[in-house]
């Protein structure tokens, strides 16, 4: 017996959902820059967000926007440092999250004002 065309269409629909969804999900996950976070920084509020959660070993990209004056970004434990981030010219910081779960502190890398010493944040590598 010949299979009617609508059966093929329905089967295609089903295959798209059953196989396609997981395939798209996994492809997206594998090709993604995992933690793509926009960080805003100004003197009054410091880093926002000041806690960034990432998974062990995943590629992380931070896009840091200085809102008021020239700031910087440094995290010795992660081996990342940007000396100057000018307002209106976001800096891209890319690194791979450590394999060891825990908290990795980051701070402003440039004497930006009286609150410079309080401008802290942390990268949290989840278990």
């Amino acid at each position: 017996m010949r299979t009617p065309r609508q059966e093929w269409l329905a089967g295609l629909c089903l295959a798209a959902v059953l196989v396609g969804t997981p395939a798209v999900v996994l492809a997206y996950q594998m090709n993604r820059v995992s933690a793509d976070v926009i960080v805003q920084v100004d003197q009054e509020h410091g880093f926002a967000p000041n806690a960034i959660y990432v998974h062990p070993g995943e590629p992380v990209r931070l896009q840091i926007h200085a809102k008021d004056v020239v700031h910087g970004f440094q995290s010795p434990k992660l081996g990342v440092r940007v000396d100057e981030i000018y307002p209106g010219k976001p800096a891209l910081v890319e690194f791979t999250a450590p394999r060891t779960p825990g908290e990795y502190v980051f701070a402003c890398a440039r004497m930006c004002g009286t609150h410079h010493g309080e401008m802290l944040g942390k990268i949290v590598v989840l278990p």
Partner: protein, 500 residues
């Protein structure tokens, strides 16, 4: 007494039984033609959606509609199951927990069951694979013999007892299931496998009818629903010899849920697949709105299996509210299975309350009513019939409970659509949406309102059923009085649990 509505084009109006035969088929003995719920809504009022909207009839008759509804369910189910198996292990960051226990559960209790009966069953993707395999097709009617053994479900088990047991078994793990993605994923996978296996051995939708864990309360509480699928004109069905709705034809299947649409009088086992619309050559099926609670008055197919379902659901509502929304840490520790002894204590308490304490207390009050009225009606019959008065109270208690799940936790849905697997995605820019409880200022109003509505409806249904069962109004009133007292106590107790 108003004359029955004859005009097929008139969508709304009274549908009083036109003949004694029709009254018997509808199981409405003892219900006066002018009976009203709460003194307001005529029991026989119907609004025929398929007469009012011809396009709706067309859509429902299409063989595609069933498939597309199931695909909608599948579209939610596949990513959810994937998230459950490989996504984040933290419950509120995982699609499966948020989708199943916050979105689906609230949708079911607050919208689908009270307003649209078992419409969920039309889009439930869990039994689809089995059904397609049996039919060897997705959409078209194949004339080949169905795949599988096609056995009939054993007669002694053609009731709600299997479902009561399966539901209770899962209820023992409710604390685990609602908080661990892997547990929900395991449960759904097991259901898919079980449904597939059942459809290989048994005929049609045997799984949905007799084995689905949620099928029991969906069935019982759908008796309260404001929507129904019924034959349009009984005389047409009666004179029509072919009855395609109960035997497969060349164009469509007989009722997959093993119902007989010509005589179906309750929503309990109607999965709303609309196959009867497709098969009926007389185009005599209709989808109608109605006042809630009509099927609770139907004096057919009542049984202790459904009574116990009502007890289980009422008891479970109280226990879940105490465990999940109560201030008692010990209950939470037990339900979370922190220690084996604590967990066993929880199981023992849960099973004792729902299987023994609730029925015993209810039985005591029915016994008192029977003595008070001096009626000849057997105790068992009075007990069974009056237990249906617990349905409105139980459903509305679950509605009050579901408000208290949805309002505090609904905002997780906004976050989860951007990051369904808890992997740090941000598909729609809402991944950082904070947990934002919504409308909790109004929660007490919603909960108290729901409970009072449930009480009023239960009292009303109870008295109608009592008159139907006992016969004369005087004895019925006395038989119902203690049960009315009990229902008042139940409403007061739930009020204490939710807002007291």
């Amino acid at each position: 007494m108003s004359a029955p509505e004859k005009c097929a084009a008139c969508a709304g109006g009274l549908r009083t039984p036109a003949s004694p035969a029709e009254r018997a088929v509808r199981g409405l003995n003892g219900i006066p033609d002018d009976a009203k719920f709460l003194g307001l809504m005529p029991v026989h009022w119907r609004y025929d959606l398929t007469a009012r909207f011809p396009w709706l009839r067309k859509v429902l008759r299409s063989r595609w509609s069933a498939f597309l509804l199931q695909m909608l369910g599948m579209l939610l189910f596949v990513p959810a199951l994937l998230a459950g198996w490989i996504g984040s292990p933290v419950g509120n960051t995982n699609l499966i927990i948020v989708l199943v226990w916050i979105f689906w559960w609230s949708l079911l209790m607050l919208v689908l069951v009270p307003f649209a009966s078992r419409i969920w069953c039309a889009m439930c993707p869990l039994p689809s694979l089995g059904e397609w395999l049996q039919r060897r097709s997705f959409i078209v009617r194949r004339l080949t013999a169905p795949l599988g053994l096609g056995k009939k479900w054993p007669a002694p088990l053609r009731n709600m007892w299997p479902v009561n047991i399966i539901f209770l078994f899962l209820a023992l793990f409710s604390g685990i299931l609602t908080t661990r993605p892997w547990a929900t994923a395991l449960m759904l996978t097991a259901i898919v496998v079980a449904a597939l296996a059942t459809s290989v051995i048994f005929e049609k939708r045997t799984f949905c009818r007799y084995l689905c864990p949620v099928g029991g309360f969906l069935g019982l509480y759908s008796n309260f629903a404001m929507m129904e699928i019924r034959h349009n004109d009984y005389a047409t069905c009666r004179s029509h010899g072919t009855k395609e709705c109960v035997t497969d034809t060349a164009d469509a299947y007989a009722c997959p849920w093993l119902e007989a649409p010509t005589t179906m009088s309750r929503n309990t086992y109607c999965g709303m697949c609309f196959e009867c619309f497709r098969t009926c050559s007389m185009d005599n099926m209709s989808l109608r709105l109605r006042p809630p609670g009509v099927d609770l008055l139907v004096d057919k197919h009542r049984g202790l299996d459904e009574s116990w379902k009502a007890f289980i659901m009422l008891g479970a509502a109280a226990i879940y509210s105490s465990t999940m929304m109560g201030p008692w840490g010990i209950l939470k520790a037990w339900a979370n299975a922190r220690t084996l002894s604590g967990y066993l204590t929880y199981i023992a308490i849960l099973l004792t309350i729902v299987l023994a304490v609730v029925p015993a207390v209810f039985g005591g009050f029915v016994w008192l009513g029977r003595k008070l009225s001096g009626t000849e009606t057997p105790f068992r019959k009075l007990f069974t019939n009056l237990s249906y008065s617990l349905v409105p109270m139980g459903l509305l208690a679950w509605i009050a409970f579901s408000f208290a799940i949805l309002l505090p936790n609904g905002s997780y849905i906004i976050r989860i659509i951007s990051d369904p697997f808890g992997w740090g995605w941000n598909l729609f820019g809402t991944a950082a949406f904070p947990w934002t409880p919504f409308g909790l200022r109004w929660l007490p109003y919603l909960q108290v309102g729901a409970l009072l509505f449930g009480l009023a409806y239960s009292l009303d249904v109870g008295f109608k059923v009592a008159r139907q069962t006992v016969g004369d109004a005087k004895s019925a009133a006395l038989a119902m009085a203690p049960v009315a007292l009990l229902l008042t106590g139940v409403a007061a107790a739930f009020t204490w649990l939710f807002v007291g």
